[in-house]
Symmetry: C2
Subunit: 610 residues, 2 copies
């Protein structure tokens, strides 16, 4: 093999220390400590060779943690090949081996120690040497490492990102006569980095072009298409292949697909990807969920293409089991809905104060110091963009798109019993905007609302910043509730960390939250946050109060105030609601001073005789 592909070969056994050799010669097994130095030596050797043309190393690498040491720092460059034989086959060959320090008596303990690698190419040692070399060559040299299916905006950007990261990939786009023809091959020809990529519009050829166990990422429309594509793939897949859904699928669909494919021996992972077109190309934030073992197979790819945080760590981290990756992405988008709506409300307030877009952009520019975010940055750029007739923003129809993940996040909040009122209010603001013609009719009947609220830009910044804190509190609270309900054991601080770069809701606040969420799960109870909230609160109260007096539409700022007021109110008016429910439906209620939690019923009706 070494001769055939012209890279050096090393036998791991040659690198054992004299002590290890003696120990084995004495018929004793090596323990983990004995092996540690040796593994480090091999890792170092591999690292040096990777910088050149690479090499082949033969060695025992029985446990997952040994292999972790061996691949450390070169995860993206390593290929495992398991020469697979039964105890009987191997002991026979060992018996025929001459001049080797390891006695056959140690083989039993090696077989016992062995942990089957899920990411290795497995080759039956019963094959001839020629056949083995041919198989390795076919699988590893001619085939690609990773398949990407679906070359829409996001699929194309991710393909280029993977190729730019040095991965050999297969890309696929369906053939749809007259509509989608030769998409993959044309795309490959368009970009230099795709020179070594293999392009397909046939499912079977695509699948066969990928090394086993195959890693195939779907970048197709969420919904039925995912199921259709899975059905098309199944006939060509092998056991332990991994399908990765990188779209915005609903987490319950993902869970259904995980179960379905498990029966077929195929792993399925739901991976949230945020960053839009540009993020996908230059480094998105990635939220993988599903079976943890199978995640290891795609981890090197995802971590390499992900955005990096300030410590150069990838903005990609295993989220949890089931559909948790897609769930977390859905909540990311929910938070995004509210962040966008807050900026829209701020914009509308500044307009009511008579500011033109450039002036608003200039003010928002000064906000970067206190409350910077990607969305703030792009809003500034948007407000400055002009075309011949003036600001583009003024010509855009005020009907917001309102499908997908924002809806789902609101629905999930309702299902989980979590008051994610800011996401919901942002969603409903989009819904209401879509009734444009009816709003115009209503404005005709009711007259224009425009009155100018008495507000300063300093107060507005404070109101905006506090609302963002509350929005993030609600978003992470929703994650926490889901984590508890579904046993996902989500690491909120780590989720905040992978959201500080690459994704749409990256911000300086998110950077703070990485630290804050390490201390505790509840943002609004954090000491540092409490200080900030107390300082900012009067401004938020005043902004909302003044804006509502002026008949402005500021649902998400208003929800921020109401949530904070409710959250800090130890005694709410829900006692009246419980009384009403007990009155008409005999739903019973609990009492404040009865810690037993006993349920009471009152016969409220004065006409009754109870």
């Amino acid at each position: 093999m070494s001769k055939k592909i012209d890279i050096p070969f090393f036998d791991g056994d040659d690198f054992h220390t004299a002590q290890n050799v003696k120990k084995m010669s004495d018929g004793k097994s090596l323990d983990d400590l004995d092996r540690y130095e040796w593994l480090l030596t091999l890792n170092k050797l591999a690292g040096e060779q990777v910088k050149k043309n690479g090499c082949i190393i033969a060695c025992s690498a029985l446990k997952e943690k040994y292999r972790d040491i061996l691949k450390s720092g070169i995860e993206n460059n390593i290929k495992w090949i398991l020469l697979n034989g039964s105890f009987e086959q191997v002991i026979e060959r060992l018996g025929n081996r001459k001049d080797h320090f390891m006695p056959t008596s140690l083989l039993r303990s090696q077989f016992e120690t062995f942990e089957d690698p899920i990411d290795a190419l497995k080759i039956d040692i019963a094959l001839s040497r020629k056949e083995i070399i041919k198989t390795i060559n076919n699988e590893l040299v001619n085939r690609s490492e990773f398949g990407l299916l679906g070359l829409g905006v996001m699929g194309k950007s991710l393909s280029r990102n993977l190729a730019n990261s040095g991965f050999k990939i297969s890309i696929f786009n369906r053939h749809l006569k007259g509509v989608e023809e030769d998409i993959a091959i044309n795309f490959k020809n368009e970009y230099k980095e795709l020179d070594s990529a293999l392009a397909f519009d046939d499912f079977e050829d695509f699948v066969n072009s990928i090394q086993k166990p195959r890693k195939i990422m779907l970048m197709v429309n969420a919904g039925k298409t995912v199921d259709v594509v899975i059905e098309r793939l199944i006939p060509y897949l092998s056991k332990d292949d991994v399908i990765v859904d990188g779209g915005n699928s609903h987490y319950k669909d993902t869970e259904r697909r995980i179960k379905y494919l498990k029966n077929e021996g195929i792993y399925f992972l739901g991976v949230g990807i945020s960053g839009g077109e540009e993020g996908a190309l230059r480094g998105p934030s990635i939220m993988p969920g599903g079976n943890k073992n199978s995640y290891r197979l795609i981890q090197p790819f995802l971590e390499k293409i992900a955005a990096k945080d300030k410590n150069k760590q990838p903005c990609c981290s295993y989220i949890g089991g089931d559909g948790s990756g897609h769930f977390v992405k859905m909540i990311h988008n929910g938070i995004e809905y509210a962040e966008m709506q807050l900026l829209a409300e701020v914009y509308t307030l500044f307009r009511s104060l008579g500011k033109v877009p450039d002036e608003i952009a200039n003010i928002l520019e000064t906000w970067k110091a206190a409350s910077n975010s990607y969305l703030l940055e792009i809003t500034i750029e948007i407000l400055r963009k002009k075309e011949k007739n003036g600001w583009i923003i003024d010509s855009i129809l005020d009907k917001a798109g309102n499908k997908g993940t924002g809806n789902w996040a609101t629905i999930a909040a309702a299902e989980l019993g979590t008051p994610s009122s800011m996401i919901a209010s942002a969603l409903f603001a989009r819904h209401l905007s879509s009734f444009k013609e009816e709003r115009e009719k209503a404005e005709g009947v009711y007259g224009e609302n425009e009155r100018s609220p008495k507000l300063s830009k300093e107060e507005l910044l404070k109101a905006y910043h506090l609302s963002r804190i509350i929005n993030h509190h609600q978003g992470f609270k929703l994650l926490l509730q889901a984590s508890n309900a579904y046993n996902w054991d989500l690491n909120l601080a780590e989720i905040a960390r992978i959201w500080i770069n690459g994704c749409i809701i990256r911000s300086s606040l998110m950077e703070d939250l990485v630290i804050i969420l390490k201390q505790a799960d509840t943002i609004l109870l954090n000491k540092e946050i409490v200080k900030r909230v107390k300082y900012l609160r009067p401004s938020l109260n005043n902004v909302v109060s003044q804006a509502l007096l002026s008949q402005m539409e500021i649902p998400t700022l208003s929800e921020a105030v109401n949530y904070l007021n409710g959250y800090t109110n130890g005694r709410s008016s829900a006692n009246l609601i419980q009384a009403q429910r007990d009155y008409f439906g005999a739903h019973t209620y609990q009492k404040i001073n009865d810690a037993t939690g006993k349920f009471y019923h009152t016969n409220w009706n004065k006409l009754s005789h109870d």
Copy 2:
């Protein structure tokens, strides 16, 4: 038969006019006009006999609309028996008939005209006369007219209501050893009106005790129980039997069950019932949905037990196909959530003004003139109710129950793209209340909110009333959206009508809406409403503005303001959101001055070269 059960028999043919007899003797078929007088005569005859002991009338009643005339005014007292024979059987018997004016030549047109009645007991004329009489006796005299399954709070009240309305019913409750034993028989023995009821805890006996086609209403817990009960019933049911689900089932479950049972030849209807325990007993509001023909079978029962409006019409009206009955009930409950929350917010505002419960009750008493409702009435009674240590309301734990229909209504709003923000805010207020311990902790950290807003009770009434108008606008809007999306053709005015009595959200406003919704579907655009809104609006703005400055939790009042402000705003800030979406996701946007609806994309990034 007449002799056996001792009531008179009439042959319909004896009541034809001389003209009709002549026409038939001449071999001509009667047309609808010829039949009209005759049917009226028979209907009058039946009406007179019903007042005595009843009678048997034999007549041709070929079409559904003939039968409608025959039963007019005595719907609850009529039993149809179809003597069912083939053309060959009947023509043979007709040939043997002597001295009758109708020539056999007319039979073919009679068979062609015939519309099969779904609500008739069908008897094969091949049976002997004795057998026929025995069958009729078994089915109609010994069996009950209606079955009710599930004797919880609502099931018991509805059973008594049915019995009090003069129906002979079968009642069933499962046997659960040591937990639910002899429920049905004990319940029957408890109430005089159930003397003629048949009580069971065996599925087969219960089903067999009911006249065919059977009408069985389920009053069991929504969810899996309904499916379990259906499976238990199926083996004993016959084609064209009708199952009615009177619980708060999810409308999508109802639709699934309709389809499932259709395959079994069984009709399934989803019927929303509102009114709580007392309403169920004295007359609830009933919202039946499903197949319209099968609804005719249960219509007499439901209309008889329903509450009556001011014109004595039943608060029960066929809603539409599929799960529309349960959907409408779900939205009823959504509106109810917001109505309850508004009262809770009003209550909390009065408390912050220093009023004690009795004082608040006295103020609310004066509100009845302007904005009365069942919920206002019970709130007043609740606030006045004392126990030894003071007002009961003060001892009730402020954690509101938050499962079921309110959640579903919010989810449906999100799915339908409708901004039902008041229902959602009321739901989330309940959710937030459930985090009692965390709220107490937060109050400890942030300090108490209590400041006294500057408000008058007159302004509060105006704010409350306007919020209710907006809540109803949103609720009916949601129904309209669902009606359009699902092709239900809902009659909003009729839905308002059946909600003016019997149900939890009955109110003087609802009475106004019956008239308003007859004019148009959109409440806030109605001239009369516009006047009211304009008059009330400054007070709502001021109340919300002041209350938020005082750090009160008033999410649903706030949403009312925000919705109104958004609704009456022809130009919203959604243009910024569209720009943002286009910036990071290339989602494109439309332009205000381009009526073609063309989609535009801008390359916003100043770094790009486009």
